[in-house]
């Protein structure tokens, strides 16, 4: 299909991307890599649909509708020295607002995307402070009962970005919807090197408790934990400049009805396929020995391995902290009770009252402990957990790069074989079939040469994207931690001030004992 869409010769050696339409993914890959070839420097593919600029416009937005047609249109539209390029360049580093109407119009967005230069993307990076989307997940509601029950969450989006159709919108989503969203994003973006934030984990135990209707603190905690995790997941996803524009994301946030994502269930056909793929990937990882020519990747991979270990350790430390705090809360309450009993049995009035006050103070302190335990948990434990999972996504992206390299090498090998076959044909003894065979082989060689070039481009593309993604990840990581530290300190200060109040209230009671 893509073959007829050969772009103008300006685009350097762009081949009709994928002749193997097994999965929609490849379709996209070729689209991107095709677009990136710039007349200025063929050696440095411009990442149009980059992760940096707050509003790159990858054409994958339209893939869901009718990939072939739209893709074709995009091809025809693009021309890197098309006149559209100039005016859009002059827009310069603008905040993340696309001057388009919400109903998707192809031309301006697509050409705008192609007009991005790497420098512009860097500038846009700085202006990400203008990023203005606030998502909250709230109001968990149980729907149905028994084992068929599920929780529904209200997802509210507040934004001034115009890619959204409204300033404020609220929709109801269930957990499998989130998983479905992640699954779509992962299949679209991970293999080209974007770090797609992982969705919160399933929890059979937690969910069963909720389904069965246990109205205790542990299931309330579970629901709150999940709600918070879903909120963080969405915020991380929209903070990614590429993912923000994805139609699946927009649909998720805005449309009132969403088709049920059944393929997220573990035992569905898709689920089993996932498991098979995971196994296949694992085997591949072992068999592909990549010749790493770029030291940066080797270093980074090692760094991420180290970081993984460190974060897991930190996570374990914090979990232990949370556990002890809970224990302290239990003990404090117990002590408060025993103190109250002492107070009740005490004859001396003032002493009795003081002891009862002591019990009250201890109970108040216990509330503080519980709050602080929550803070420890939500601020650090969940943050660290999120990052451990994010690192898994990062590692996945590095693995994708290895796979891409593998594909490229495979293509090289095939090309080699075809060339050898061609050479052999020179010495063949079947003259009548010779010409036909020669023609065939020539075609095949051309085909594989194309694939080799494609493979190389893909590899360079994914490497470039990964570099950017890693840079973004590292910046975000520092930001996230800073934000949490400040929040944590605020909670610490608040707790202490409460404590001071309680002690100051108790002191006169103690002094009043005659």
């Amino acid at each position: 299909m893509a073959e007829d869409r050969e772009p103008p010769a300006l685009l350097d050696a762009s081949h009709a991307g994928s002749t193997d339409p097994e999965d929609g993914e490849d379709l996209f890959v070729s689209a991107v890599s095709k677009m990136e070839a710039s007349p200025t420097s063929p050696a440095e593919p411009i990442i149009i649909s980059s992760s940096n600029g707050p509003e790159p416009e990858p054409e994958e937005i339209f893939l869901d509708e009718d990939p072939d047609d739209l893709f074709a249109e995009a091809t025809e539209e693009v021309s890197l020295d098309s006149p559209e390029r100039q005016p859009i360049l002059s827009d310069g580093p603008s905040p993340a607002i696309t001057p388009v109407t919400p109903t998707v119009t192809l031309d301006p967005r697509v050409s705008e995307a192609f007009a991005r230069s790497p420098d512009q993307d860097e500038d846009e990076e700085e202006n990400r402070d203008a990023f203005d989307v606030q998502i909250s997940v709230s109001d968990p509601e149980k729907v149905g009962d028994g084992m068929n029950a599920y929780m529904v969450y209200k997802v509210s989006t507040k934004t001034s970005l115009s890619i959204f159709s409204r300033d404020q919108v609220s929709v109801k989503r269930r957990f499998s919807d989130f998983l479905g969203l992640h699954s779509k994003l992962a299949s679209k973006y991970m293999h080209i090197g974007y770090i797609v934030p992982p969705a919160p984990e399933k929890s059979i135990v937690g969910m069963t408790k909720v389904k069965v209707g246990k109205e205790d603190t542990s299931s309330a905690e579970f629901v709150e934990k999940r709600r918070s995790a879903l909120e963080r997941y969405l915020m991380r996803t929209v903070k990614h400049p590429v993912l923000l524009k994805d139609p699946d994301v927009l649909q998720f946030l805005e449309s009132s009805e969403l088709p049920r994502a059944v393929s997220t269930q573990a035992l569905s056909g898709a689920g089993i396929l996932r498991m098979v793929n995971k196994a296949a990937d694992a085997v591949n990882k072992m068999t592909i020995k990549m010749n790493e020519s770029d030291a940066w990747f080797e270093e980074k991979q090692q760094q991420f391995e180290n970081l993984d270990v460190q974060l897991r350790k930190l996570h374990a430390s914090v979990e232990s902290l949370v556990c002890h705090r809970k224990e302290l809360s239990v003990n404090t309450v117990s002590f408060a009770k025993s103190s109250a009993m002492l107070g009740n049995s005490e004859d001396h009035t003032a002493l009795s009252r003081a002891l009862s006050q002591l019990a009250e103070v201890e109970e108040k302190i216990d509330t503080l402990h519980q709050d602080q335990a929550c803070n420890d948990f939500f601020m650090f434990s969940e943050l660290l957990g999120d990052y451990v999972r994010l690192i898994t996504a990062v590692k996945g992206v590095f693995d994708q790069r290895m796979k891409t390299w593998g594909k490229w090498q495979e293509a090289e090998m095939m090309l080699q074989r075809k060339r050898e076959a061609e050479a052999k044909l020179q010495y063949a003894n079947k003259p009548d079939k010779l010409q036909q065979a020669k023609d065939e082989i020539k075609e095949e060689i051309e085909e594989w040469e194309g694939k080799v070039q494609q493979g190389e481009r893909d590899f360079e593309q994914i490497s470039k994207i990964i570099r950017r993604e890693v840079g973004r990840f590292e910046k975000d990581r520092v930001k996230d931690f800073k934000v949490v530290i400040v929040k944590y300190l605020e909670s610490l200060v608040h707790t202490q001030q409460q404590l001071i109040k309680y002690w100051e209230a108790f002191l006169p009671e103690a002094k009043a004992i005659a």
Partner: protein, 372 residues
Amino acid sequence: MEGSSAESALSVSADSIRITDLTQDGDVLTFAITSQKLNSSAGVCVFRAYEDFEWLQQSLFSQENVPGLQGIIFPPLPPKALPLQSNMQTKALKQLGFLALGQDWQGYCKALEFYLQQVATHPTLCKCKALDSFLINSESPGKQRGRKGIFNRLSQAVEEMRKESHKDVDNFFQNERNKNTNIAALSKVATEKLIDVVMTEQKLALACGHFSTSLHLCVNQDDAAAVAFSKVCLKLSDIIEAVKQNFEKVASNNLTTLGLGLDLESRYQEAEKEMLFRRTCKLIELETVKKSTEKAKANKREVMEEFQKAVEKEFSLISSVAKEEIERFHSSRVNVLKNVLIGWCEQQLNTAKECAELYSQHLEACRNMYSE
């Protein structure tokens, strides 16, 4: 060593008794006890081991010619301390309770010091020669075993249990016994619960320490991004270190004020219980003698009646001493508890203020550093 005379009195000021130092040699703990002489400005310093305290307590129990000795609520001697090793924590806890938790024996020394002060300020006990010699003789009393005096620990024999619940002839004492049983049990429970709290606080401090150390391990200088992250980790490490120190202080405050106070109250209630039990035993003895006298044959009757009169006299002496002791005990314990509660509250308040200040500084610094 034994005996006392009405004229002998303590030669040092009771308020000046201090335990100033503690040395440990293997299993043996030696305490340095200082006090001020009453008639001069000279100070005295002696060195005593735990056995010497036990000797003193025994001597107090076995005094002769002290009317109604059994009615005295004897200041409770803290139990013997095992040398502090981490793996002995639970054993020590069971025996020593609170006194095992202090890191540097501070609590324990304070408890022993308080014991000596209580003995020295007791109107009757301060006259015991043994106390004076304990406090000023350079030679320790050594292994002298005093006469076995009145028992000081309730045995668990079923018989004793039965005696303990023997109905009293005097309402005042019956009430006191009931209240005492109740409060003794409750204060013991409260002490144990507070121990749990303190131990958890200490565990939290440890956990914070681990967290803080783990953060240090995240530091690396590979590239600019790593450096930025390392800075953040180090900052957090400092904060967690501050949290840890706060826990340590809070635990220590709980220990040295409320903890020791509750422990003392608990042990004193036990001491009162023992006194009341002694009196009850005397009551039972009296009632038994009365019955025997009634049943006695004429020839033995006079002897029995003499004997009965003697027991009656003892019992009435014990009761009157006991009454005074109980009044004294009540007012003193309220005072002690008041001071304990005030001290506890003030220390925790100070710690909370210091901590709030420190956290605020960190917060300020972070806000400044992180405002980009």
